[in-house]
């Protein structure tokens, strides 16, 4: 582009007009922070609660925990924190701005994920309209798992990793940049979330794809392919070393592997189960699959081995675990964009294609005038100010976010605070409430909470036996000195305890019942 052309464009820029990428960022960030969606990000399960509390512990003690802190069943046993840095950030945000602060950080990351993906699609030369539609579709797939938890770091870093590896394959980034950036990011990833092993899956797929391409390469191409294989090998080694840069060293990757190899532990977490395609929230994922199928049958692209492996591997992984569905969308979208873009550019000018090109050209033209660059920062600051209003100017908060009392045993916890002597001994709690109790009742220890990695298979089996009121349940409760239970009123064990003469109902509301063992 000439200087004259460049300055002509600059003079046309509107300082108030955000680019489409920025608009996407703003829509996701503001919608999720200001609407009822924000409650869903913290209340779908109790994981944000115990992450917050664990972060608090680290801020108070200026250390990463090495032993289990919150349960009486595993208290003091060795513990490898798989996401300590995310928990510190969560605690900082929560302590400063409450739940609103945690949501703000989470949605900042979610909006950035989509923004980055959109930027990648545009940087790869795809039409604006196509890029926007595909980015929105990927966002819809990812949104099913947009919870205020450390895994958002994984989604963000998957976009970055996949982007950089893709550009390396295409010669659009240098070896040096790749070998510096990705190991650094891996080191960060290993401290943010335990799913950093996905980095190795991505590198591994690229490695295999590159080796496969060597088979069909000409004599001229083989040196370049060999070079890429060597770089990817070095990259894998560098990233592996980088994972050791965490407070637990080599124990961290080992812990991740051992957790993933336990079907019992993995089977209890909803996101490790296969997707239920009857759930309406799976519709965006199905649409991405349909789009992929249509690309293969209509566009019929000559996929390189790496892209083929990426699509296939992530699709199959998505069928195995619903938590991989967003990752499939993030990895597949650039591939879909590339080939659909080429097809739409070369397609004969039917009415539909002409309409598409007109709209896309108009959008591109308007987008080129976008000059408002600081809007995401402004929006973030504005949001912080809104949330911090009680601290800054006093008075009531403008935006209140609390855990819903019809989903968590808020009333029961209030009762226990007022009447601490109403129960004796250790608690047996509902699995999904464990994290909430860790935050709301830090003075008491839980039986179990959703960080199953801590508990191991034997204790989980004990828990399930009691949870199902299976024979021997009372012996297990005695083994752990359980003196009271806090469970949903229609919980199987609650029903059984209601019939027992050695247990009495201490508290009950529509959400929870507390039974205490009689002395």
């Amino acid at each position: 582009m000439t200087n004259r052309a460049s300055s002509a464009i600059d003079s046309r820029r509107c300082w108030w007009l955000p680019s489409v990428s920025t608009i996407l960022w703003l829509i996701i960030f503001l919608t999720s922070n200001l609407s009822a969606i924000r409650v869903a990000t913290i209340a779908s399960d109790s994981d944000p609660c115990w992450h917050w509390q664990e972060g608090n512990w680290m801020l108070q003690h200026h250390a990463v925990p090495r032993t289990e802190l919150f349960s009486h069943t595993r208290g003091g046993s060795p513990f490898v924190d798989l996401w300590w840095l995310s928990e510190v950030v969560t605690a900082l945000a929560g302590n400063f701005l409450g739940w609103g602060g945690i949501i703000l950080v989470a949605m900042f990351v979610c909006a950035t994920i989509v923004w980055l993906l959109h930027r990648q699609l545009l940087a790869e030369g795809n039409e604006l309209l196509l890029s926007t539609v595909l980015a929105l579709l990927a966002a819809a797939v990812c949104a099913t798992h947009w919870l205020a938890r450390p895994h958002l770091a994984t989604q963000l870093l998957v976009v970055v990793f996949a982007w950089q590896l893709r550009w390396f394959q295409r010669g659009r980034t240098t070896t040096c940049r790749l070998l510096i950036l990705l190991p650094l990011l891996t080191a960060l990833w290993a401290n943010l979330h335990g799913a950093f092993v996905i980095a190795f899956a991505l590198i591994g797929i690229h490695w295999v794809g590159t080796v496969a391409s060597w088979v069909g390469a000409t004599a001229d191409e083989k040196p370049a392919v060999r070079h890429r294989v060597m770089v990817l090998t070095a990259l894998g080694a560098a990233c592996l070393l980088a994972t050791l840069l965490n407070p637990n060293g080599w124990r961290l990757p080992l812990r991740v592997v051992s957790y993933m190899s336990s079907p019992l532990l993995m089977g209890l977490a909803q996101e490790y189960l296969p997707p239920n395609f009857r759930d309406p929230t799976m519709l965006p994922f199905l649409l991405v699959c349909v789009l992929t199928l249509l690309m293969l049958v209509i566009v019929r692209p000559r996929l390189n081995a790496t892209d083929a492996l990426l699509l296939l591997a992530w699709f199959l992984l998505s069928l195995r675990m619903v938590r991989n569905c967003p990752l499939f969308a993030l990895v597949a979208t650039p591939i879909l964009a590339e080939h659909w873009n080429a097809y739409l550019r070369a397609a004969p000018p039917s009415w539909l294609i002409r309409r598409y090109r007109t709209i896309s050209a108009t959008m591109t033209s308007v987008n080129q005038m976008a000059g408002a660059r600081g809007l995401p920062l402004l929006a973030t600051i504005a949001m912080i100010l809104v949330l911090a209003k009680p601290q800054i100017v006093g008075g009531r908060p403008l935006l209140t976010t609390e855990l819903p009392a019809n989903r968590f045993p808020v009333g029961a916890v209030e009762f226990l605070r007022r009447s601490p002597d109403a129960v004796r001994g250790e608690m047996f709690n509902e699995y999904s409430w464990g994290g909430y109790f860790i935050l709301a009742m830090p003075e008491r220890k839980v039986f179990i909470h959703p960080n199953l990695d801590v508990y191991g298979e034997e204790l989980v089996r004990d828990f399930l036996k009691v949870n199902d009121a299976d024979s021997g349940w009372d012996d297990i409760l005695k083994k752990y000195h359980v003196g009271w239970t806090i469970l949903p009123p229609d919980h199987r064990l609650s029903r059984v305890l209601a019939q027992r003469t050695d247990w009495k109902l201490v508290y009950s509301d529509s959400v929870a019942s507390i039974y205490g063992r009689k002395p």
Binding site: P274, L293, A308, L312, A469, S471, R492, V496
Partner: protein, 511 residues
Amino acid sequence: MSARRWLLPSLTQGIWIAFFLGIALTDWRLVLINADGDPSLHWRIGRWMIEHRAVIHADVFSHTRAGAPLISKEWLGEVLFATAGDALGWNGIVVLSAVLIATCLWLLHRQLLAEGNDLLLSTALTLLAAMACSVHWLARPHLFTHLFAVIFAWQLRLFDRGKLPTRQLFVRLVPLMVLWVNLHGAFFTGFVIIATFVMGRVVLLVQSPRAERPAIRSKLSDLKTLAAGCALATLVNPNGWRLSAHIVEFLRDPILARYTNEFRSPNFHTNGIHGCLITLALLALTFMIVRPIPTATDVVIIGTWGLLALLSSRNVPIFALLITPILAEYWQTALANARPGRLIEFYRRLSANVTSLDRSADGRVTVALVFVVLLVVMAKPHVFGGPPLIDTNILTNRFPVAAVRFVADNPRAINGEMFNDYGWGGYLMLSLPDHRVFVDGRNDFYGPDLIQEFDDVNKVRPDWDAILQKYNVGWTILPRGHALTTLLALRKDWSLAYTDDVAAIYTHKPK
């Protein structure tokens, strides 16, 4: 011309023999009848119809809906299963199921060969389809649907490619639909298959130049007429139009579908689903590597049945059976046009050798011998007396066999009506014919209200006791670790009548 080898089966016949014997002689036969209580249920209902020489129209098996109008969705299939069961016991039901499964795969293989695919390729893909179908290999009438789906799709595919005249299509498929509607309630599958071919034609119509459209319209019209003919054919059943209305109502109800395992999305963690995963992977690889130019119909079939398979695991076998001929065609073309290389040359030599050997094989006698010998082996106790050579029975660690024996031997130990485990309903119908069940696998019959009431008791919700009283339940037969069992153990008005490792029977103490 080489002499025919009369005892050597062809590969197609070998597939039939392998699956027939493989299912009948290995532990597969136990899986067929023990995966759930429905084989027992179908046997019981079929037996009733044989004894009464009438199609059942009112329920006699449950006390919760005793006398309620009953639309038997698979009366003929149940009669056939009951005939086999009454003749040879569970072995008879296994033989019938094995015949259906083997014949389905044999037909698929024949179709692939008839469409000009290599023998080796056809065999490999048939085995893969078998692996995918095995997820739903149970001794139940839906095996007829697998078989008929292959036939329907084959004939429609021939018609679509101009290799079958319209008249022949009608003559073959309309009577087949008459049979299908009486054999199994999933005859709707036939309409979905026709619809995919119709949609394919519609897409082709839109894409084609004007000159070609009249021919396409003509075929489209024929397909619509076929659908109409088949729709009329579905009326030829003891319940007339009510059967179709009943099925539509059942499919629309989410509560009923929730209780039926095979209506849920496939669980890709279970071992049996690997065949489906490999099929999906092969489908993806086909489009990525072979890059065929599919017809609109092929795309519609793949998309429609792929989606239906992801929605309900019971559609996984149909998906596999329908896309196998499509995959075979693409790979056949790719292999035929592949550049010469060591691997391709090896494959072609091997394929040629096997084809040459296969051409001279005619093992019809062998197939018949295998069938007869196995029948005789299965029938040995009935014909010659003594213990069976092949013992096929309900597993005692999965069904309450001993508890049922206790009830049969001690009729006074229980009173009132029973409340039973859902999965045992069919087995209890067969093994305790003098007692009526609370519920069994016939969700479509019981309806959402009763299923909800059953669920409330099953999950021990607050009104469980009131529901049991409403239905005069005097005893329960449930797994030992069942929530209700645990609760009843604490109740003074219930007492334990029997327990073993599998089941516990509690009886209500009269006031």
